[in-house]
Amino acid sequence: MDRIAFKGVTKSFGPVTALRPINLDIAAGEFVTLLGPSGSGKSTLLNIAAGHLAPSSGQVLIGDRDVTALPARRRNIGMVFQSYALFPHLNVYENVAYGLRARRVAGKETARRVEEALSIVQLDGYGPRAVRELSGGQQQRVALARALVIEPDALLLDEPLGALDRQLRKHVQLEIRRLHQRLGRTMIYVTHDQEEALVMSDRIAIMRDGGIEQIGTAPELYRQPSNTFVAGFLGESNLIEGRIERILGGFAELATDELGISIRGVAGAGLATGAPAAALIRPEALTLSPEATPRLPARIEEVVYLGDILSIRLRLASRQDIWCRRFAGKSDLPSGTVTLGWSEQDVRILPIAPPGNPRPQSN
């Protein structure tokens, strides 16, 4: 178990920049998720950590060792792939034993450690089975056991649950989290699924266009997103755009021309008076009551029943749609035109993230 640090790591494929300079410190025993849409560079960063890709510049440290030039086979890092990458011609036991055989671990020791690893992933007695006889979830656990048995300094997981169905995914998420808590290994987890990130991570790094937009704990990212991209990517969000009128005492006021009101909220970093910005109001922070201030009329367009909660779509005078959430069955739902209310403390004024490039280009 060791810390992993990326120091100014970049990667270009010909003229295409896949990673802008990345500085990221992952503490020993920490579970960090790289969360981002496809093409954001998260898998590239993971493969650089594993040694399957060489960075164009920068350094990768494991513990205090600079491993930038070290081939993957010398890094002692466990990796789990989305496609599991189990060896089809070997049975479960031989798949798990592969890394030990490569390390010339003695036969008895190998047998003991393979059995231990299989028991960690609750596959005791599955050793003689052929890999293809196992279900997707079981194959994933074999892949996990194979990566853990070598006692890696860090475990890298590249969308390992992508091929599983929803029900199983939830189950394995919790299993991986428990495993992390029990073994305390440094883990980097790559996914585009925000729910996975929220369930498992100590910290989440939101990636976009080859760079890290923000890194923090789940509550930090949810409550204090650094810009509109992060706000939109993690959780559901209502973003009302406007122009900064005033910044004072940690609060900012946003003028919205189309709605004709100004919205006051907690000021994020990087705001400037007169610059475009957006107000973030989470769906659960909105109330539908006539006496709330400031007053913002909206018409209820749609009510979606989600079991314990209701998700309500409202249309503002600017024709923008706003989502609101409330517990189902709490009280009667008003209909027609209502007035939206919120508390200033629950509103954040954020800089607008520049429009993303689907394919990051060279500088």
Binding site: A50, G51, H52, P71, A72, R73, R74, R75, N76, I77, G78, M79, F81, S83, A85, L86, F87, P88, H89, Y98, G99, A102, R103, A130, R132, E133, R146, A147, I150
Partner: protein
């Protein structure tokens, strides 16, 4: 389909098959003839000419030469062809196409051209009339079959598996031995069998490169049939058919075995 059409169709298929196979199979009864020259149908069945074949030192030594040449040519083309296929996999774009064409050229270049070229090169080197000279020439013809067969197998090998093995600490040679080879085994077996059949059947290059000391079975057959019309040549042909059949059955068994796991 009406009965008449069905009968016509079946008859047509049977006729085509007969046209393809019967002339080849004709050597089997011919080899079992007791008379002193090839005649169909045989006047009386006998294993007389099989005895003659195995008692004649020239025939048996040519069979042995063929076996040696085929073994060396197969081994050599398997080694070089696998290396070539692995190398081709690693390069991209135009160079891959150009080099692939280069490795497949022996299939396209007329055998007689290759034979004359080899003869010119082999003569000053003293390779004409030697087993090794024949084997080198055959290896050239066998190479494309190995490159193609192994290449197809390699295309089915998921590169993620190689990464996984490397990440687990395996050296490049260990990865090759424990992941690559098991995955491309059907291609290796297929390539080897095609190579062996090609070498056993080869006659054009062999005629140029053969000598008194080293003469393959097809060359001996060709020489014999020109001076005498005895059923011994038919015996040799029957043995060749038998060998080819054994090789093909082996190939089929291998391919069936390699496909079964995927279906399950």
């Amino acid at each position: 389909m009406s009965l008449a059409r069905k009968i016509t169709l079946h008859a047509l298929v049977a006729a085509v098959l007969a046209f393809l196979v019967l002339p080849i199979l004709a050597v089997i009864p011919a080899s079992l003839n007791s008379a002193s020259f090839i005649r169909l149908p045989p006047s009386a069945l006998s294993l007389r000419w099989y005895g003659a074949f195995f008692q004649d030192g020239e025939w048996t030594s040519s069979l042995l030469t063929s076996a040696k040449v085929a073994a060396i040519a197969t081994g050599l083309s398997l080694f070089l062809g696998t290396a070539a296929a692995l190398g081709l996999r690693r390069i991209e774009g135009a160079w891959r196409r150009i080099l692939s064409g280069f490795f497949l050229a022996p299939l396209i270049v007329p055998a007689i051209v290759t034979a004359i070229a080899l003869y010119y090169v082999s003569r000053p080197l003293g390779l004409v009339g030697t087993t090794i000279g024949l084997a080198l020439g055959h290896a050239l013809l066998c190479l494309p079959f190995v490159v193609v067969n192994v290449g197809v197998s390699l295309a089915g090998l998921d590169p993620i598996l190689l990464r996984a093995a490397e990440g687990l600490g395996a050296s490049p040679f260990r990865i090759f031995r424990t992941v690559t080879v098991p995955s491309i085994l059907p291609g290796l077996v297929g390539g080897a069998i095609f190579a062996a059949i090609t070498s056993f059947d080869e006659v054009v290059i062999s005629i140029f490169l053969a000598g008194i000391e080293a003469k393959t079975l097809p060359v001996k057959m060709w020489e014999t049939i020109r001076v005498e019309f005895t059923p011994v040549a038919a015996v040799a042909a029957t043995l060749l058919i038998g060998l080819t059949l054994v090789f093909f059955l082996t190939l089929h068994a291998t391919l069936l075995r390699s496909r079964r796991p995927k279906a399950a």
